[in-house]
Amino acid sequence: MMCMRKLRSAFAAALLLGPCFFGSAQAQQEIKIGAIYPLTGAAASTGLEMRNALELAADMINNGAKGIDMPLAAGGGLPNLGNAKIRLIFADHQGNPQVGATEAERLIMQEKVVALLGCYFSNVTSTASQMAERYGVPFLNPESSSAKLTQRRFKWFFRTTPHDDLFVHNFYEFLKDIGAKKNLKPKRIALLNENTEWGVETTKIEEKLAGELGYNIVEKIIYPAKSTQLTSEVQRLKASKADLLMQSSYLGDAILSMKTYKEQGFAPSAILANDAGFSDTEFRRTLGKDANYVLSREVWAKDLTTQNPLIKQVNDLYAQKYKTDFNGNSARSFTGLFVLADAINRAGSTAPEAIRKALSETNIPGKHLIMPWEGVKFDATGQNTLGRGIIVQIQNGEFATVWPFDIATKDIIWPMPAWDKR
């Protein structure tokens, strides 16, 4: 009994003192970079993929990767800083903007990171980068696509990925191209986008451009994410007799919606997805052949290896380590760290202003990236102007680039066959 009492007191004391054990040892010749990602919660699976990609990038910079012709991939850290090594400090934002800001502040003020990476979710990126702006620490965002983020004209915010505005423009350029070259013109477009900042913003741009370019939107659904059923949505889609569906969903909803389409016999000529859940490796793994023919805007595809041997080399390395290929999310995170490391190296210092200046002067040619981009170069708002999107189609369980035509590896299959004719 006495023992139990002691145990309880000790336990209570631990509770009270726990948060006081802050502070950490400062190691020399290390460049600390904070990375804030969703590592628990509904998006944790995507968060872990991005974490893996960042660790691979850090490992390549610190320890080198044989035969890969990429700046900084020779190993031995950053040459201009006395071969200092990169050390990533991960934090979990749980998909919560307040937690994202709290973690950003902790990484900056307590861990003394020299720069931040993150956060995948646009709304968390926005609060976390506000924190970086306050303290004057460079924030590099590799994968959030809300156009608003760079419209804030922050001094310390840089984004390598193209944003939603460009992605939706891509959709319509793609439609125009296949209309001109292949005589495929969708007559009735339906939108199915999830009810978050991302889905809502995408819907607005899609509607606006459809009006300007003369496309006919017959149904617009903004559905609540994480539903237990999507039957009402699919019934509406069926009733709309749409021949093209544009969809924005994260993984769980993407899988559930595909299953519901099959079950309810909803088969438009094409499903044009807005990346995210559809580009996740598990989307194809879990749906198998039912995932075929889905079109998605993308920023990365494995078959781009024919354009750039670097993509294959790096992907092989990643696949060897993590038993899966890169996807649009992990490839962007990987690229993000390399862009940041390149800037820190050119700055030759870990002073925030020096890194910021180096970032703004970034000019990496496309051949040194594993992305199908022309390169990385930031404008005054911090947006990379050389990024571009591609359209891929799942054919035989693999993503094949089908647009732009100059880098396409496969011909587009349109219309997709009805579910019972596969």
């Binding site: 944790a44 699976s45 009810n195 659904i221 237990t228 009402s232 993984l251 899988i255 309810q264 749906l287």
Partner: protein, 289 residues
């Protein structure tokens, strides 16, 4: 809106509603016997789904075949949860009880992520897959099987409570714990039984769902709120009430989503719930106090 679509949405709503009912029955049994709302109920469902998935992935056993095993596993888990946590707070204030089951909810989610990674999983090509088309109406076979399974399981629970001696003991304890104890019914065993039964219901629902719903550590959250509404709508502690309430919620959700707008489907269900309990505070089929 033509008749065909009306019929289609109506029937789809009933099918998913029956699954809601089964999840809710488990919650209802626990509540009926000991007046504890189990916030971790969605996590029992999640564990049922994972059990189904792993038996399928590791031993290539079809979910339908492993259903009895999952049922037993979850029954045991429910009883263990009772034995090691709930037993100590049976007479604690309602707030402490909410606190403990809320903790269990987070614990199970964290545990699932720790052991099985946060990846999304699905059971592919189970025996139950594909769909049937009758007169232009589409039904997923997994949905039909799940709905049938839910009816059978709910019926079994009803039979157990109303037609067996053990069930009678359960009911007696629910009515009056002290009196039942005086009659020689050990309430702690009955409580453990209720938790086992409740978890087993959620587990069976999880197995049935696993044939068409993606599986991930947070999946319980999607169903938990709906299950709460179903239980309260049907009347806390009432099995038949939960069945009807499940069907109503399913139909209203699908139909309301179709008519008014999918973005409002949860709000529609909740508004209906509030409206019903305003008129009948004890729920549709609950006992008036």
């Amino acid at each position: 809106m033509n008749g065909e679509i009306l019929l289609q949405t109506l029937l789809s709503g009933i099918l998913i509603g029956l699954v809601y009912a089964l999840v809710a029955v488990g919650l209802s049994v626990i509540y009926g016997v000991m007046e504890i709302v189990n916030f971790a109920h969605g996590e029992f469902l999640m564990l049922g789904m994972y059990s189904s998935f792993w038996l399928f992935a590791l031993f290539a056993l079809d979910p339908l075949a492993t259903l009895p095993l999952t049922l037993l596993l979850l029954f045991g888990l429910g009883a263990l949860v009772y034995r090691f946590t709930i037993k100590r707070i049976v007479n604690a204030p309602m707030l402490s009880q909410i606190f403990v089951t809320f903790g269990l909810m987070i614990l199970f989610r964290g545990g699932a992520q720790f052991f099985w990674k946060p990846d999304f999983r699905t059971v592919e090509n189970s025996l139950v897959s594909g769909n049937v088309v009758i007169n232009g109406l589409y039904f997923g076979i997994p949905h039909i099987v799940a709905a049938l399974g839910a009816v059978v399981a709910t019926g079994a629970v009803w039979w157990f409570i109303n037609r067996t001696r053990l069930g009678a003991a359960l009911e007696a304890t629910a009515q009056d714990k002290e009196a039942a104890q005086l009659m020689g019914i050990p309430s702690h065993w009955i409580f453990a039984l209720a938790w086992g039964l409740g978890a087993a219901c959620a587990g069976v629902a999880g197995v049935l769902l696993s044939t068409f719903f993606p599986i991930f550590p947070e999946v319980g959250a999607n169903f938990c709120l709906i299950a709460f509404v179903v239980v309260a709508l049907g009347g806390f502690g009432n099995v038949t009430g939960a069945l009807w309430a499940g069907i109503i919620v399913g139909v209203v959700e699908v139909l309301g989503g179709f008519w008014i707008g999918p973005e409002y489907k949860l709000a529609i269900v909740l508004t209906l719930f509030l409206a019903v309990i305003l008129v009948r505070p004890q729920g549709l089929m609950g006992r008036a106090e």
